[in-house]
Structures are given as C-alpha cells and as structure tokens.
C-alpha cells in the first residue's frame, strides 16, 4: 500500500527560472502565465534577446534619471526636452505622467516644454496637493519666461478637479492658462460615443 501511495515528484523549474518568472509577472500587462511564456521565450533566444535585454535593463537602470526641472525620464538632467533650444520655452504643458508626455511627443503637435505632475488630486486615494509636483510648477512659472500653461490632464473628475485647482493657483501669476478640449475623437462615430463625450462636444461646438 505504501508503494502505491508514493507519487512521483512533480518536476519544478529551477529557482533562477522561478525568480525570472516572478519578476516578469510584476510587469504591467503580465500575469503568471504570460510571464512564464516570456521567460521561456527569453531562455530560448538567449543570445539574440535575453543578453541584449539584460544589458539594456542594466544600462537604463544605471543611466536614466528623473529630470529635476520637469519630471521627465532621460539620461541627462535637465532632460533633452528642457535643454532643446528649438523648443518654445514660453509654453509649459502640464501632464500627469511621463507616459502622457511621450503621447504628446508622439503626436508631434506640441513644441513647448513640459511639467510632469506625478498624479492627480484624489479623495479616494488620499492624494493631496503636497503629494504632487505643484510647488516646482509654481516656481517655474514664477521664475519668468512662461506665457502660457497648458493643462493636459485627463477628462476625469479627478483630472479636472486638479485642473481647476491649478487654474486657481496660476490665476494670479500673469500667465494664460488653457486646457485641452474634450469631444469627438478623430475617426469617432457619434452613435459609439458615451453620453459625457457627446455632451462635452456639444458644449464646445464652434462655427464652421
């Protein structure tokens, strides 16, 4: 009977592979299953992908830092956006996150400077003004040379609450404060839009 109950031990991945899977599973968009697939893929393409990736990760960890002026991520501080002489230093675009800065850069539509807030005011998450990079924004505006601040914040209750808060703070600073328009996206069909977007689009209608 004792022999019948003895089961063969299940083969386990080595601790190194387990550690790799555990770390990969912490990345956004990854779960344990997709992390395992990625780990396997990396191990299969050790020379072509895994080694260069680990080198790139080490390089980035070593050299990328947060720009003390705007909050962007770059290898230099101040970052390449802040030091680019071709950019319009009189316009400052306030974004929540570096991902938003990258999105605006991808569009190629904006040629000014940025300021990354690092979040939005949130009663639910307990984010207060002092938790955000608001003091440094005010300092930049007060230092002079800025004529317009563009608030490129999310069209959410928290995003717009933050925008109004910043608008109040900047009201007496002698700069023009603008915010992004809300409405119908390019390629959007009306019957697929939510009520809120349609309402915002109607409110912001303009003559043709």
């Amino acid at each position: 009977m004792a022999e019948m109950s003895a089961r063969p031990r299940r083969a386990q991945a080595s601790p190194e592979i387990e550690r790799l899977v555990t770390l990969l599973a912490k990345l956004p968009g990854f779960g344990p299953r997709s992390a395992r697939r990625a780990a396997l893929h990396l191990l299969k393409k050790r020379d072509g992908l895994m080694q260069p990736l680990s080198q790139a990760l080490a390089d980035a960890a070593q050299s990328v830092r947060t720009c003390q002026r705007c909050g962007n991520l770059d290898t230099s501080d101040p970052c390449s956006v802040c030091t680019d002489p071709a950019r319009d230093a009189s316009t400052l675009c306030v974004v929540v996150d570096v991902a938003d800065l990258w999105a605006l850069e991808r569009s190629g539509a904006y040629q000014g400077h940025y300021h990354v807030l690092g979040g939005v005011l949130s009663a639910l998450d307990g984010v207060r003004p002092e938790d955000l990079r608001i003091a440094s924004l005010l300092a930049r505006v007060q230092a002079g040379g800025v004529s317009e601040v563009v608030l490129a914040l999310a069209a959410t209750v928290e995003g717009q609450t933050t925008a109004h808060y910043l608008g109040d703070l900047l009201a007496d600073q002698g700069v023009s404060v603008t915010k992004l328009a809300h409405g119908v996206p390019v390629g959007g069909e009306l019957d697929h839009l939510d009520d809120g977007t349609l309402l915002a689009a109607l409110k912001a209608r303009r003559s043709v």
Binding site: A123, L124, T156, V157, T161, H164, D168, H182, D194, G196
Partner: protein
C-alpha cells in the same frame, strides 16, 4: 447566486490589476455597495465608473458575504461630464462622494439619501442655487445617519417663530431672542434651512456649511477618527471665490 438590481450613483473606483476596478456606489436597493467591474479600467467602461455617474446596474455574487461583481451597467442620464467646466460643482460632487464613502455603512438601505443625492447631482449641473441644496443634503445625511437636527421649535421657549440659532451640543434650535445671551456659544441657523420659501442671502450658505460641518465632524467623523474630506474645503473655497457663500 444572490444579487440585486437597480439605480445607483458611482462614488469612486479603485483599480484592480490592469483592466478591472472595484466600484463603490450608492444604490436605491441596498445603500452603499461595492463590487468588481470586469474591464472597468478599459476604454468602454471607464466613463461609467467615474464618480457621479448615474447608473442602472445589477450586482451578483455566489454568496452575500462576497465582494461580488457589477454587470449590465448602463448610464441613466447626465453624469459628471456636465460638471467638468464648473470648479465648484466638481468640488461639490467630490465632497458628496467622499462624505458618502466616509460615513455611510455598506448594504444599509437608504432610499431617501439616494434620491436626495440623485436630485443634488441633477441640480449641480442645472441650477445656479444648488449650494443651498447641497447644505440641505448634508442636513439630510445627518438625519439619515441618526443625528438629525431638531429645527421644529425653540428648545428654550417652545416657540416656533424666529428661530436663529442651533445648540452645538444638542442640535436643537433656539429663537433669536432666547438664544441671544448665548450667541457666542451657539451656531447660526440660516433661514433657508427652515423652509424652501426662505431664499438664501449673502453669508447664509457659509453659515449652513459651518453648522453642518460641526455636526458631521462631531457625530460622524471624529468618533471613528476620521477627518473632514479635503474636497469639502475645496468646495467652500470654490463657492467663496465665485461669491456664492
């Protein structure tokens, strides 16, 4: 499988993983309730879980004690989008949501409070005098939580006329004359809280905020070591800035 369906107002959503959120709502069926919204952080549903969204939804769980999930979520009219351009209305919405999250108990039906909140949301986008309604809503919140103010008669004389003060200890009204000797200790009772026929005048809304703030803090927040939501201070500031206090 247990569950319920009905009308609700979204109060806030916390992200869970990449795509989902845990949504808090005030519902007509069971009061404040939480549940998972699959795909709530995605493009299609993100607008629905914004605070102030007015929803029709169903809650399902295998057992009543479980977190459960919301499904069949549909918008039922203007949500927070119509408040986005008004700093005071947005602060009012944030204050209302934060207070409901802080002081209401989960799964305690409060139909009156739900209807009042729904009405207030509607008013914020459409009526200029909504701050008076907001103060009355806070008075209703106190009453719903069991700490209603007694503004029916003077606690000192029994008179029903010229009520002008409220005792900060008992929450009972006092007439102008009887309360005058204790004026420095009493809270001002703005006339608009005594009936809809009294239109708020300059300073009345500020008095109403001070009155309700005192009792909300003393009866609902301090006993459980909570503080007044910052959004309420922002609301008062925004109203003061536009001369609506």
């Amino acid at each position: 499988m247990s569950g319920w369906a009905g009308r609700a107002i979204a109060l806030g959503a916390r992200r869970l993983g990449e795509n989902d959120v845990i949504l808090d709502v005030l519902s007509d069926a069971v009061g404040r309730a939480s549940g998972l919204v699959y795909g709530g952080a995605g493009k299609r549903k993100r607008a629905l879980v914004e605070p102030g969204s007015r929803l029709e939804l169903a809650w399902r769980a295998r057992l009543d004690e479980q977190l459960g999930f919301f499904e069949e979520i549909e918008s039922r009219g203007a949500g927070p989008a119509h408040l986005m351009d008004d700093a005071a209305a947005l602060a009012g919405l944030a204050s209302m949501s934060a207070l409901l999250l802080e002081v209401t108990a989960e799964r305690q039906p409060c139909l009156g409070l739900f209807e009042a909140s729904d009405l207030l949301l509607d008013a914020m986008g459409n009526y200029q005098n909504w701050p008076a309604l907001y103060v009355r809503w806070e008075m209703g919140l106190l009453a719903e939580m069991g700490y209603g103010l007694d503004l029916s008669q003077c606690a000192l004389t029994g008179s029903h006329d010229d009520l002008a003060w409220v005792s900060p200890r008992t929450g009972r009204a006092a007439s102008r004359e009887a309360g005058a000797p204790f004026a420095d200790k009493l809270l001002v009772l703005p006339p608009f809280l005594l009936g809809g026929q009294n239109k708020p005048e300059s300073g009345d809304i500020a008095d109403g905020f001070a009155l309700m703030g005192h009792f909300i803090d003393r009866e609902l927040l301090s006993p459980v070591r909570k503080t007044m939501p910052e959004a309420r201070a922002r609301l008062i500031f925004a109203l003061g800035k536009t001369g609506r206090l």
